[in-house]
């Protein structure tokens, strides 16, 4: 199974860098994410843009088996849509793969049930359908419909049935790459479609709309194609590393899985930042020094 990372620099420069305790810790996380996962999945692939390749490969010296700068195609897209970089990476896949967020560390190989699954993700999420949730699928679909925009039938079907399932995609992948490319293409098309721009604008900025097009959309696609018989229906087995969010956050469960995800505000936690730095300095001293040299060279 191929291991894949993506890095679209425009959202990072715009405001995503603020998610991290410091730029150094962002880079250290890249080192640890790659080095822990490559022990299990040595066929590594970075999908980024030219600036990202200069930073991670030329600057930091990360050693991927393959590097693509196809995210240069996103240079005119609004940086609010950070999930586009991931969706483009998913759409590039033609072999079984696992996409790993750069704040995820695989201390252990993934269970075989994930490695052989049609589609898999970190953990399922269930959210309330009222305004208290970050997810607002009905608002998104209504906004696009209100301006005569393009709405994937999977989304409309799912919203009509008040589906409230999503999949947390700290890791995401599978062997049914034709289906995954279809799902990724829907998300990309819905964001980029000219007829949808007024609809998205009417919703105002909302980070969760990235989660909608990535994490809600995958469940909408799976549930829709399970119900509506077509070429995808016979192979839509979905697996998760954790059976629920509660287990994901349980230290014993994450220890058994050998899985760390510095999700959300954890990237700004000073204690974790210090642990991250100690770990990289101890386990990958050459990479650590390369990181310091790179930071000095760009300061």
């Amino acid at each position: 199974m191929r291991s894949v990372w993506s890095f679209w620099t425009k959202p990072f420069d715009y405001d995503r860098h603020r998610a991290w305790w410091s730029e150094k810790h962002h880079l250290l996380s890249w080192i640890l994410s790659l080095e822990t996962a490559r022990r299990h999945y040595p066929r590594t692939w970075l999908i980024t843009d030219s600036q990202g390749a200069r930073m991670l490969v030329d600057g930091l010296g990360l050693e991927f088996e393959s590097v693509s700068t196809c995210l240069d195609a996103l240079q005119d897209c609004h940086p609010d849509w950070w999930a586009l970089g991931k969706l483009y990476a998913y759409r590039c896949q033609h072999d079984p793969f696992v996409h790993i967020d750069s704040d995820v560390y695989l201390w252990k190989r993934l269970p075989s049930m994930l490695e052989t699954a049609d589609v898999f993700a970190q953990s399922p999420e269930t959210f309330p359908l009222d305004s208290s949730s970050w997810y607002r699928p009905k608002a998104c679909v209504d906004a696009l419909n209100a301006v005569g925009g393009w709405v994937p039938e999977e989304w409309q079907w799912s919203v009509d049935r008040q589906c409230n399932q999503a999949a947390c995609c700290g890791i995401f992948g599978g062997s049914h790459v034709e289906f995954i490319r279809h799902y990724a293409d829907l998300g990309i098309k819905s964001v980029e479609h000219p007829d949808n721009q007024d609809g998205w604008s009417s919703l105002g900025g909302n980070m969760a709309d990235n989660l909608f097009v990535e994490q809600y959309s995958i469940m909408a696609c799976i549930e829709f194609h399970r119900q509506v018989k077509n070429r995808f229906s016979s192979r839509l087995q979905m697996q998760y590393l954790f059976p629920g969010a509660e287990q994901a956050y349980d230290p014993e469960c994450s220890r058994q899985a050998g899985y760390t995800h510095l999700i959300g505000a954890a990237k700004r936690n000073r204690v974790l930042a210090e642990r991250l730095e100690r770990r990289v300095r101890r386990d990958y001293p050459e990479k650590y020094e390369a990181c310091l040299r790179y930071l000095e060279s760009v300061s």
Partner: protein
């Protein structure tokens, strides 16, 4: 704002319900043990003080009408940032966040004030992420 708080406290006093007004000192660093004093009203029958967030243990040293002295042990891997706490009395449980009173756990480093503020802004429940203890 001040009037609203005064009104709430007045109501609580009328019901002989615990009131929490402050905790001093208001912060400490991870991996330390410290004695704090919680000030308020109707605290004499307090039997325990607990911190819902992980890895802060407590021992009540003594309790009087207007104060409780508590020893706090902050584990080295305790979560940094703002912690609320609860006071268990013979008449029920009182939560400090009802009164806007919190205790702050800071990291062991000697970070700048700016860094400390950043830590407080983001040091919220859940900030250990998933499997953060494996790092």
């Amino acid at each position: 704002m001040l009037k609203r708080i005064e009104h709430e406290i007045s109501s609580d006093v009328a019901l002989d319900r615990c009131v929490v007004s402050s905790i001093e000192p208001g912060d400490t660093r991870v991996g330390t043990s410290t004695v704090v004093t919680i000030y308020g009203r109707f605290l004499a029958d307090a039997v325990d003080v607990t911190f819902p967030r992980e890895r802060v243990s407590t021992t009540v040293l003594d309790a009087e009408e207007d104060r409780i002295r508590v020893r706090l042990n902050i584990n080295p891997d305790s979560m940094t940032g703002r912690h609320d706490f609860q006071i268990l009395t013979l008449r029920g449980v009182v939560k400090s966040d009802e009164f806007g009173v919190y205790f702050h756990v800071r990291s062991s480093g000697s970070g700048s004030r700016e860094e400390e503020d950043k830590e407080d802004d983001y040091g919220v429940w859940g900030d250990m992420g998933i499997g953060g203890d494996l790092l």
